[in-house]
Amino acid sequence: MGLVESGKMPKSLTKLLNMSRRYSMWVYQWGLACCAIEMGAAFASPRYDVMRLGVIPLPASPRQADFLVVSGTVTDKMAPAVRRLWEQMPDPKYVISMGSCANCGGPYWDSYSVTKGVDQIVPVDVYVPGCPPRPEALLEGIVLLQERIMNEDMAERWKGDPIVVE
């Protein structure tokens, strides 16, 4: 137990495991706002076809998800649910914040009901700018995340803190 946390993993095995996490990323079907449609396009449109990258948009339950795309506006009413769902995902888990709303509140920065940035609730690994980001921009974010996974230190991630990238 806890082979990884103890740091006794051989390098090559770490690489292999990172690789498998990189190419098998299940993302769960959850859209929040307009960005969700572009996310849907990235997932379901044959033009973008995110499955190519190994991102499988099958699960509808967070229990089977590897990463979460916060695609759109997070309102104060929604924020607890976002947090809850993120918490219910099994580790190792990742978060992509998609669109201005999720990044910072975006067009609703001055609204009374919108959370100003999802990183106040959950730790975010990749920020994808745009309003909405084109599907390919999301793909870029995913590729970025994959690279990040490829190079990450498993022991650090297993402890749960997102790796600090310098």
């Binding site: 079907q29 339950s61 190792p92």
Partner: protein
């Protein structure tokens, strides 16, 4: 096959050194092939996409990545769940699959066991997975799971019957429950006196085949019978709370049973390892038999996934109605017809 290698192993050696590894392969390989070829690729093509491309050439290593990934996922036991049953459910489901595979013949001598009650045993153990599903649904302590589990069980038992009854027609024709015997009966049978291609029972048991396939579709909870795991309402049904490796096991179980059921269908209706033109007793079949069977299996499995990705799903009551009011009476009629013909001819 063993004779070909001019070995004479003891029973224990034979079982543990040959049959067990081959059995593992026979379960996992079709499952993997089906997932990759159909779930990832063929379906993508049907939707004018490509499917996995990045992991290995044409995404061929995707499955390895999947397994590697799932191994690393945290294994969550919800605090309210019944831990023991929750953990045990995947065992039951997978066990049902493995017990199904055991009766399959892949050549005149290439078989795991040659049971007198072969197909009967298969039918018996196929219903065991219902228990696993009920266990999973109940122990998760989750509403979606419970509803999904009960729906699944209700559906599985409703379609278990057409499945069994569709087989009866074949048994009547073959006059045996032995799987090997059924293959031979097809190989040596004749259609109205013409034995050119033997008698693959698909020809004389077409109704039975249709019923069997519909029932298999339902047994595998694939669309249009995927109410229990209906994503758009029950999240993932009885699997909702499963994460990590246990989910993967269910996943493997699902597709492995797809493979096994397709193989059973191939044996029952398409002549199993036999292809017309070669003498059924010939040693050749010990070599090409497995391949022939695998090919037939894959073709049938394609049907399953083709349907799955084309049709909308039935509602629970429509599904039950279809089973009880249409399929079961029809299969009884089929049995009656086959019986009458058998006795009359």
């Amino acid at each position: 096959m063993i004779e070909l290698l001019a070995l004479n192993p003891s029973w224990w050696q034979e079982t543990f050194l040959i049959k067990v590894p081959i059995g593992l392969l026979a379960v996992l390989l079709p499952a993997g092939t089906i997932v990759y070829l159909y779930l990832f690729k063929a379906i993508s093509f049907m939707q004018s996409r490509l499917g996995p491309m990045e992991a290995g050439p044409y995404g061929s290593l995707q499955l390895l990545a999947e397994v590697g990934k799932w191994l690393q996922k945290e294994d969550i036991f919800p605090s309210k769940a019944d831990k023991f049953v929750f953990a045990a459910a995947p065992f039951v489901v997978l066990m049902s699959t493995f017990l199904l595979v055991v009766v399959l013949p892949a050549g005149p001598d290439a078989l795991f066991v040659d049971l007198d009650a072969g197909i009967y045993l298969a039918m018996a153990v196929s219903s065991v997975s219902v228990i696993g599903i009920l266990m999973a649904g109940w122990s998760s302590a989750n509403k979606y799971s419970l509803l999904g589990g009960i729906r699944a069980a209700g559906q599985l038992i409703a379609y278990e019957l057409p499945l069994i009854l569709a087989v009866v027609g074949v048994v009547i024709q073959a006059g045996t429950m032995n799987m090997q015997g059924i293959v031979l009966a097809q190989a040596e049978g004749e259609i109205f006196g013409w034995g050119g291609i033997g008698n693959p029972f698909i020809l004389t048991q077409f109704i039975g085949f249709v019923i069997f396939m519909i029932a298999v579709q339902a047994e595998l909870t694939q669309a249009p019978f995927d109410m229990p795991v209906a994503e758009s309402e029950l999240v993932t049904g009885y699997l909702t709370e499963y994460s990590g490796i246990r989910f993967l096991l269910f996943f493997i179980g699902e597709f492995a049973s797809a493979g096994v059921f397709s193989a059973i269908a191939a044996v029952l209706f398409f002549g199993g390892w036999y292809i017309p033109g070669i003498d059924a007793g010939s040693q050749v079949f010990n070599v090409i038999g497995p391949l022939v069977l695998a090919t037939k299996t894959m073709i049938i499995a394609f049907l399953i996934f083709w349907f799955r990705f084309t049709f909308p799903r039935f509602r629970e009551d429509q599904l039950q109605r279809l089973a009880w009011k249409f399929l079961i009476p029809l299969s009884l009629v089929n049995i009656a017809l086959t019986g009458v013909l058998k006795v009359a001819l």
